[in-house]
Subunit: 340 residues, 2 copies
Amino acid sequence: MSETTEDNIQVLFKSAPDGLPTEDNFEIKHTPIPSIGEGQFLLRNLYLSLDPYQRMLMGGGWTYSGGDLKPGDLMVGRVLGEVIESKNPDYPLGTYCVGRLGWQTHAVSDGSNLDFTVPRDSKIPLSAYMGAAGSTGVTAWVGLKITGQMKPSDTVLISAAAGAVGSAAGQIAKANGCKVIGIAGGPAKCKIVTDVFGFDACVDYKAPDLTGQIKAAAPDGIDLYFDNVGGDVLSAALANMNKGGRIPLCGVLAAYNAEGEPPTVANMGKIFDKSLRIEGFVQTQYKDRWDEARAELIDLIQSGKLAYRETIADGIDAAPSAFIGMLQGANVGKQLVQLA
Amino acid sequence: MSETTEDNIQVLFKSAPDGLPTEDNFEIKHTPIPSIGEGQFLLRNLYLSLDPYQRMLMGGGWTYSGGDLKPGDLMVGRVLGEVIESKNPDYPLGTYCVGRLGWQTHAVSDGSNLDFTVPRDSKIPLSAYMGAAGSTGVTAWVGLKITGQMKPSDTVLISAAAGAVGSAAGQIAKANGCKVIGIAGGPAKCKIVTDVFGFDACVDYKAPDLTGQIKAAAPDGIDLYFDNVGGDVLSAALANMNKGGRIPLCGVLAAYNAEGEPPTVANMGKIFDKSLRIEGFVQTQYKDRWDEARAELIDLIQSGKLAYRETIADGIDAAPSAFIGMLQGANVGKQLVQLA
């Protein structure tokens, strides 16, 4: 096979960053393309998904988990790959698969470590399965529909609304009949949130009085706050919640790169006063609902109701710098790396 | 009737306190005993229950609700009264009733505004229906069993553990098979928590390193944290929560009397990292479960598994000072006022 003349190029975890990572925290390594055994198949990876949770796995600074990666480990991440060699009849050549196979150009699988296979007759772009029709969209769907118990009458507030998960969440909520308010940083991002993603309004967390801005945009209060950031933005949202409100907590961007004292949250008494529910979730808790979620997401994308943006870096060598940029908000929409 | 020679003595709300209330925020008023119409009955109130939520209703300082009471309003509170005059066959003379009828020595009812009637053959003290067999015990039961989804395998952490709700919660959790850790202020209160209320351990929030103290008492982590206080204690609990942990939020003592900046909470990222659920609740959300809860509480009291303490002030005139004392932690257990 011609592939054996290539290398498998990997990005390894080298050391824990103190705050924002630098390229020194990663190591690029060339290894031979692995050979496959019975029941296995070889994937040439096309896209790598970069996500904030990967920063958490690196540890250091003020991360919650303490870092799951050890020096020399392959960086964790979801990829979309094409089967280019197969000894498994369920995965013939040309099959597109998505799974958490790491930051590398090739991967071996027997199918057990995959998330899903792309439908053969798919009419949406392949890269969408890394984002709006993949873990990004499913995360938004799970947060709204399962953890957030979304109802059509809800007024929904969404932070990091110009981001991949936030923009998907807003459009899913709109498609389900909700009034949707976004929170984003700066007038340009706010304009994208309303004009491209169709939110009813968007408030600017970099402008003064976020609490008052939210109140002006949602005078009847917030029923569901889809939180991607925590910290001061969560405090401002809490001040505006209606009785019985739900706050699915999808992430804590405010904390990932914090050096020194971690961010704190005010207005926590509202949880008692308004009988609120705050609940952290990850989509992997609800694998039994993934097919249902993805079917709805594919429908929304095909019918033009779920727009998404991508920032695509070129080549595996660019993964660390693209990752660092994403953590600083340099990307628009889903941050991917094109691998082949 | 001889009662008409008495007055109905009421405590009215006069003004919003700035932080801790003073007696100037209340007004004592004598009014005639009200007469009753068809279907009504007159109660002579025996006990008044003083509770932190009443501070919230007074507004001012940093309260969440902004204060529901207007100057001249009767202070809100639960009383236990005896029917002393009746034009309602369902409530004959001598019936003991509990309801939110306010800080006053007498009250008229038609039954619609009552919480429950004390069973005629009750073998536990009447005052228990104001506490461990009343709203206090039901609050603990609801927080553990409904909001907290308590399981026998849980390690349960409880703040304000020497208080009325906290001590009841700990004993209910013990009776359900849980390992129970209390948090209280000072060695004397901690000793009561373990020796009188039978908690497995109690840590002192006034001593250094609360987070480490909790970790030492519960090295395998906390599954359910019954939070009565919020603020720094909640931050320390969050640092010790296990994956999928539940935090029913029963109150925010830390905030009721805060002047200036409200307390903030750290370690909020644990909610995402550990898929935690924090949920505020009030027992009035679950009226359909009250009978079930009270039956279990009466059983536990009769069988000696639910001990409780009371601090009983004497006479309606003493209600404001007893209330102020309670907000400062001067009481042991349930704070009542004996009215007759």
